[in-house]
């Protein structure tokens, strides 16, 4: 602190004043010094930091550049120069800040000391004013204090409330009190073709009035024909005036929406930028690519799954609602199971790898958000079949005691093929209800269901009928019959409650009695088929890979009813609408019907 030598002659008040001035001066100087220094340090820190950051990135870029031009001496020289510059500035700065801090500390100290002494010098004896006793003052003070306490308490409470409101957790705590999910009624579903093989996945059309003759070459009986941007063996689905498809290439995974009336492509959306989606496409079978799975819709959104494990939902206008990756499926031909739906749940049969890998599971996602609602492990190796939804009636369930009263329609079951079990799951909870050991080998055909009985057939095992009202392992108790003729390897069977049909890839169509499993008749079309047979009114439709559709009577004895040509190869299953058939060829999407 600056001193003023005080000579005794000066009277104390004089001396005091000079001291005071000195103190003030020092305080001002020190204060200004500190402020300026602090500001300078902050500015310098920010500036040089940003600068170094830039230099560092430049250095990194140069190093990358050097990889392409390894011989470029000039480049090397620049790198070295930059490198040195960087490190110099790094150390210069750290040293500068270090000294700066101590200086600042000293400055502030001096400032405080001088200021305090100034205050001390200025202090005068207090001169309290005359006290006028105010009655009840203490009481009033106490009251205000109480209110102050209460106020602060309230403020804290509000702050806490704010915290509670702002903080949310997405850790799967049981979602209680969520608004009731909306889903289409059975009638709506029946009117449309919402998934692979139509309502319930049974391959049965609600309409009998479908055309029986057309010719893709001449174009008669063809309402419209539209080229599909990317091919894939996934089948079309339809809802109202919309038709949905998927396609894939090495680069793209796409969902398409067509106008059912005109066939015009309304929108196409790529499934890209999905977190967790594998950098490199998993291997798939040739020709199948990455979109073998048929999409599904609930009239509000359309859902698609690809062999990458990507699941994506769009609304009907084509805007993405949600998308997630389920983890790349370990499947040597590529995941091919199509999507199923029950109420607001999107059901995914996600069978992978080998049984002892314990990776296979049945997953139900909330269709609105994509969150997992339930997940059930399946001890099966990879399969390519699609689950079906069976409306098992009250009565049948009553026997097995599965009726859960609080459920609106109890006992809706999801039935899925596996190796070696055919399993029934409670659709609401995913709990496995029953299993029957009746399958084996590589399982592509999906099950079908009629009147409380599930039918399945697969090459390498049997055609089997299993009652769905069992619980636990029902292999011994609920298997109605087994048969071994004409077992399919790709195409799914077909059942109407009285008869069951199975179609081999070689084009052999076998008809069984649904009650006994007795073979009633068989017909070898001598064509390759990968499209599953369908039942329309009293006709069974079989479409060959060449695109020829054969009509057979759905009766106990074989009656052929002619055929029709698409004029283009076909590996997909048709969708049946009121008076129309929508079917996907190798390159085009056809709508067959009367003009």
């Amino acid at each position: 602190m600056s001193q003023t030598t005080a000579n005794p002659a000066v009277d104390p008040s004089e001396r005091k004043r000079s001291w005071l001035q000195a103190a003030w001066a020092t305080a001002v100087v020190a204060g200004v010094f500190s402020v300026v220094l602090a500001a300078a340090m902050v500015v310098d820190a920010l500036r040089s930091q940003a600068e170094d950051m830039r230099t560092a990135d430049r250095l990194a870029e140069l190093k990358v550049a050097l990889r392409d031009r390894p011989m470029d001496e000039g480049l090397k020289a620049r790198i070295r120069a930059l490198d040195v510059e960087l490190r110099r500035s790094f150390f210069r700065r750290s040293q500068a800040t270090d000294t700066g801090r101590w200086l600042l500390l000293a400055g502030v100290a001096v400032f405080l000391i001088s200021l305090k002494s100034a205050m001390a010098l200025r202090r005068k004896l207090p001169m309290p004013k005359a006290e006028t006793p105010v009655p009840g003052l203490v009481g009033r003070l106490a009251r205000t204090s109480r209110w102050a306490v209460a106020a602060v308490g309230v403020v804290l409470a509000l702050a806490a409330a704010a915290l509670v409101v702002t903080a949310s957790s997405i850790l799967g705590r049981p979602e209680r009190g969520e608004k009731a999910a909306t889903y289409p009624s059975d009638e709506e579903l029946a009117k449309n073709w919402p998934r692979f093989r139509g309502p319930g996945g049974l391959g049965i059309s609600a309409y009998a009035n479908v055309p029986t003759s057309w010719n893709g070459k001449t174009g008669d009986g063809i309402l419209w024909k539209t080229a599909v941007p990317l091919g894939a063996p996934s089948s079309p689905i339809a809802w109202g005036d919309r038709i949905f498809l998927t396609g894939s290439s090495k680069k793209l995974l796409e969902v398409y929406c067509f106008d059912a009336a005109t066939g015009q492509l309304l929108w196409q959306q790529a499934a890209s930028g999905i977190p967790g989606s594998p950098a490199e496409r998993p291997r798939t079978m040739e020709g199948v690519e990455w979109a073998p799975s048929t999409p599904a819709t609930d009239g509000a959104r359309v859902y698609a799954i690809f062999s990458t494990g990507d699941v994506i939902a769009h609304d009907f206008s084509g805007t993405r609602v949600w998308a997630r990756n389920l983890g790349t499926p370990e499947n040597s031909y590529g995941h091919a199971s199509s999507l199923a739906m029950w109420r607001n749940l999107l059901i995914i049969q996600y069978d992978q790898a080998t049984a002892d890998d314990k990776k296979s599971k049945l997953i139900a996602l909330d269709a609105a958000t994509g969150r997992t609602v339930w997940e059930t492990k399946r001890d099966t190796p990879q399969t390519w079949a699609t689950p079906i939804v069976a409306k098992v009636s009250h009565l049948q369930l009553a026997h097995s005691g599965h009726v859960r009263i609080e459920d609106a329609t109890p006992g809706d079951q999801i039935i899925a093929c596996g190796d070696p079990f055919l399993c029934g799951y409670d659709a609401a909870s995913g709990k496995e209800l029953w299993r029957a050991e009746c399958l084996g080998g590589e399982i592509a055909p999906s099950p079908v269901y009629a009147n409380g009985v599930a039918y399945t057939a697969n090459a390498g095992s049997y055609a089997t009928a299993v009652r769905t009202d069992g619980s636990g392992d029902v292999t011994k108790t609920h298997v109605l019959w087994k048969a071994e003729d004409g077992l399919p390897d790709i195409c799914s069977p077909l059942a109407n409650g009285e008869l069951v049909w199975a179609l081999t890839a070689g084009g052999l169509l076998t008809c069984y009695d649904a009650k006994t499993g007795k073979r009633l008749w068989e017909k070898d079309f001598e064509v390759n088929c990968s499209s599953s047979p369908s039942l329309v009114g009293d006709k069974v439709l079989v479409t060959s890979e060449k695109g020829v559709t054969f009509f057979v009577a759905a009766s106990r004895e074989l009656k052929e009813l002619g055929k029709a040509e698409l004029g283009e190869g076909c590996r997909t299953s048709p969708a049946f609408l009121d008076g129309r058939i929508v079917i996907r060829g190798e390159k085009h999407l056809f709508c067959i019907g009367k003009k």
């Binding site: 560092a56 990135d57 990194a60 960087l86 704010a162 490199e280 291997r283 790898a353």
Partner: protein
């Protein structure tokens, strides 16, 4: 004045709350040190592989129900042998579990002779077993520095790679030591093996020569049974055609037509080189394995399938040649 007095504490409170939130947000959101590119190590680019370079498909996997798996071998009948824990698990060519042979101690590597004798490498010695699983003989130890990482059976006898002593030991089938191969020796201009990490792999080429990885020099070197250096190839590069990092490849195998299969760590990838050492194609890209996959032991069966031991997944991954390269 009064008013401002009121403000201070509340703003302080707000400050605390804000700080809490910031802290909570801060520690979850930001990524890295924030020091810039130059301060972080990034291999993601180098881990990518051009899809068209991939010439193999993973046809399937064999899950090995062991706690730790270390060695892989395939016999003439294409049976798959996996050394792990203190056993040798045997699978048929389809991957069905056939047998489990109990070994004396932790088994690290193994080889099967034509006569069906199973040579199992422990840390410092070799044990011979019959396929029934009964132990025939225990060879003498190579000392406490020894770390046996690979065994092969060739015309010249049984060759045992000792990473600890950085040498290959040649035995006859009975376990009599016949000589050392690969010791540093200017006279025979043998540079000696550089083995920074516990990986020193062997393979017998179709030419009958003994091929030894010299990981520290990023080379494969061929020796005659009596230890003359015949051939050598390989170059260090993070690029697809070379061997990446400090010490690669870690494992090799020879295809029926004499071409080489190599496995690397750091950038875990399996590749095929021609008999002359020219890069041909990729069997498995890094994304097939975990980030820290190491010790991908290799074997090749009579069908030319490439078997890769994935110690992290505890699986044998079976790769088959693609029909179309671009698939």
């Amino acid at each position: 004045m009064k008013h401002s007095r009121f403000q201070i504490p509340d703003s302080r409170l707000a400050g605390i709350l804000a700080a809490c939130l910031l802290a909570a947000a801060g520690c979850s959101e930001e990524k890295g040190s924030g020091l810039g590119k130059d301060f972080s190590y990034d291999l993601t680019e180098l881990r990518k592989v051009e899809p068209h370079l991939i010439g193999y498909d993973e046809a399937g996997t064999i899950s090995v129900p062991l706690k730790e798996v270390r060695g892989l071998a395939v016999d003439a009948k294409d049976r798959v042998f996996v050394a792990g824990d203190d056993v040798v698990a045997v699978f048929d060519r389809e991957g069905k579990r056939e047998a489990e042979i109990k070994a004396g101690s932790a088994s690290r590597c193994l080889a099967v002779a034509a006569d069906g004798t199973l040579y199992v490498g422990m840390k410092d010695h070799v044990e011979a077993y019959s396929l029934k699983g009964d132990r025939k003989v225990v060879w003498e130890s190579l000392g406490e520095k020894a770390l046996i990482t690979s065994i092969v059976v060739g015309e010249g006898g049984v060759f045992v790679a000792d990473a600890g002593n950085r040498v290959v030991v040649r035995y006859d089938l009975a376990g009599k030591q016949l000589g050392l191969i690969g010791r540093k020796d200017e006279a025979r201009d043998i540079p000696g093996f550089v083995v920074p990490s516990p990986h020193l792999d062997l393979a017998v080429g179709r030419d009958g020569l003994l091929w030894v990885v010299n990981p520290g020099r990023h080379k494969l070197q061929a020796f005659t049974a009596d230890g003359d250096l015949e051939a050598s190839w390989g170059k260090a590069s993070a690029g697809i055609e070379g061997f990446s990092g400090c010490c690669n490849p870690t494992d090799i195998a020879v295809l029926p037509d004499g071409r080489f299969v190599t496995a690397e760590k750091g950038i875990p990838r399996v590749k095929v080189y021609s008999a002359e050492g020219v890069f041909e194609c990729v069997v498995a890209a890094p994304d097939r394995f975990g980030k820290d996959a190491v010790g991908l032991d290799l074997a090749v069966d009579s069908l030319g399938r490439v078997l890769v031991l994935d110690p992290q997944a505890k699986k044998v991954r079976v790769f088959v040649r693609r029909k179309r390269m671009d698939g």
